[in-house]
């Protein structure tokens, strides 16, 4: 089996991730931050250690500004709903995932003004086009760090400086980059960083978060959900301190234990090494597929300008048929269709048919890539 669907969820997980989750149940099964007995404290320590590892990986200003959520989608919804009010202006791009687009379209019906900056057909974005969309009353700009369809990286640092010049905040969706591309929140000027735990960070599904920089005034940022936090229990009002303000309900302790182990795996292997490995693999795949007649490869076709995600189609073949043949005849697992990103597919010209998407991971090998190129040739031929 060759697993090329790491952009959806990474597989396999490092053994230490599975071990951390088993150990959580065996040795620390309490409710984190709720009681003060040894099992609750052990669970709370594991949750805190995960916050600290995440803060280290992204150079966050403070581990207590790492808000743990069930997904990047939840984190993005929390930031958009928490910060934007009727009459506010928000700017985004035409390469966004529905995790951004759907909450924005709903907010639009509630009176938020949404501007979508068009990207080029390879998914890239000119910072000057963002500048053109900016006015002094834009409150928030939300962009993906890399597309989940083409893998194309957006120039976050350049966009951040434009956004800040207009006094707005920058929210970055790092679902495709966390754990595979270096991210330094402070150096890049990211005010809010949404991440998922189950892709490049190698954790289980059901984990993710939002890191809130100290540039964000949290008194103006409402939580998405309110409830028990294990703190301020005499009050029927939500606490105003972090992370409790944004973390109601018992946290996903076992998932967070796995996420912490995943982040430590990434830290110990090193982002630069992971990036170098994936860049080599995906460039080989892009070059190999580009040479096959009838195959169209989308995106920049330059691995240094993208993450290890690539989209392609075959003329006169349905993507669903291609995906099924790769799975059934060659054991190659990928994702076909629109990848929850209709805006991105409209931008690259593949809507509504969609594409076949290959995404490598830290455990993908060069042999896997060569076997995949060979398999695609056979599928295209017959």
């Amino acid at each position: 089996m060759i697993y090329l669907d790491n952009a959806a969820t990474s597989y396999p997980k490092p053994p230490e991730v599975i071990r951390a989750m088993v150990e959580f149940f065996e040795q620390a099964g309490g409710s984190p931050g709720r009681s003060a007995h040894r099992l609750s404290v052990a669970a709370a320590r594991i949750v805190y250690d995960t916050r600290e590892a995440i803060a280290q990986l992204f150079n966050a200003p403070d581990p207590l500004r790492v808000i743990l959520t069930p997904s990047a989608t939840y984190a993005i919804n929390m930031a958009l709903r928490g910060l934007l009010r009727s009459g506010d202006k928000v700017v985004t791009t035409s390469m966004e995932h529905n995790a951004v687009m759907r909450p924005l379209r709903a907010l639009e019906r509630e009176g938020v003004q949404v501007t979508v900056v068009p990207c080029a057909s390879d998914g890239s974005l000119e910072p000057t086009d963002v500048a053109k969309a900016m006015t002094a009353d834009v409150k928030l700009v939300v962009i993906n760090h890399a597309s989940n369809v083409t893998g194309t990286l957006l120039p976050v640092t350049e966009i951040a400086s434009i956004v800040h010049r207009f006094g707005a905040l920058l929210l970055v969706d790092s679902a495709q980059t966390a754990g595979v591309v270096p991210i330094d929140m402070q150096a890049m000027g990211i005010d809010l960083l949404a991440f998922t735990g189950h892709k490049g960070l190698m954790g289980p599904t059901g984990t993710g978060g939002l890191i809130i920089s100290d540039k964000v005034d949290v008194s103006e940022f409402d939580p998405l959900v309110r409830g028990g936090t294990g703190s301020l229990s005499e009050s029927e009002e939500q606490p105003d301190f972090l992370p409790d303000k944004y973390e109601s309900g018992t946290p996903n302790g076992v998932g967070i234990a796995g996420l912490g182990a995943g982040v430590r795996f990434v830290l110990s292997r090193g982002i630069d090494e992971i990036r170098a490995h994936e860049t080599k693999l995906i460039q080989t795949l892009i070059d190999g597929l580009s040479e096959i007649p009838k195959v169209t490869v989308y995106g920049t076709r330059d691995a240094t300008r993208s993450v290890a995600v690539m989209s392609w189609t075959v003329s006169n073949k349905r993507v669903s048929d291609v995906g099924m043949r790769l799975d059934e005849e060659f054991g190659i697992l990928c994702r076909v269709g629109l990848h929850c990103a209709p805006a991105a597919h409209k931008t690259i010209g593949t809507f509504p048919e969609g594409t076949v998407r290959f995404s490598t991971g830290v455990f993908t090998t060069l042999e896997d890539i060569h076997a995949t190129i060979k398999a695609v040739k056979q599928v295209v031929r017959s």
Partner: protein, 74 residues
Amino acid sequence: MSELGLILFHTTSAAMRAEKILKKAGQTVKLIPTPRELSSDCGIALRFEWEMAERVRALLNEARVEIAGIHRLK
């Protein structure tokens, strides 16, 4: 027996952070349930040796750990 002190926090996350920082600095600390009469902000408090109060304050201040109070235990 030496006198003990207790640090109170708003959030468990800060208590975990403080425990880690103080242990690393060689302090003898223990997480205990917050006595009801002191505060109900956060159910977990950090016990330490009162004679080290100044050092403990300095360490937490340096690491910018927000605390809700420091008490001498009787």
